[in-house]
Amino acid sequence: MASGIYNRFKANLMNKVVDLEADTINVALYDNTHVFTATDNTYVTTNELATAGGYTQGGAALANKAVTQAATTKFDADDTAWTNATFTAYHAVIWDDTVATDDLIANIDFGGAQSVSSGTFTIQWNASGIITLA
């Protein structure tokens, strides 16, 4: 059970593979069998929530992505929401849908089952940024 950043993302930054503002960055939701493993490289549908109850596999694209340069540079975006939703999720995985290999970026552990019923499931990204680099 963990939140963290995938090693592939670190390498992709250094190799100029990822552009967090220009690329399509998705957030996918996973069940309780998903385990964050920093050495995983690519997005997979294994253990992802099925397409049902207001969720579509692949996840939702981050909107209004922005990188703000500072001593602590941050990557941020609008909060992500699934409406008319009925499902239970345990993790969110952020991945790059523009890179041909669908490379992983980060994993957020919800700390247990988080359920929505005929409502809106929202991930409120931290005011400090989704990812920071200091």
Partner: protein, 59 residues
Amino acid sequence: MQYKAKIVNGLPVILAEALRTKNKNGGYDITIQAPSLQLINDFIERNKNGKRDLQQIQS
């Protein structure tokens, strides 16, 4: 908000927090408040005993 954190297998674990509210549809909405992920993890420091301390992450 402060996020709960602990050490698992020597690695920091930061957990998201969630708020759930009833909605007018008779169901409920949920909002996950995600932690900010640090690309360089600087919140583990070794203490004078050579062990690791865990500091709380504050958003």
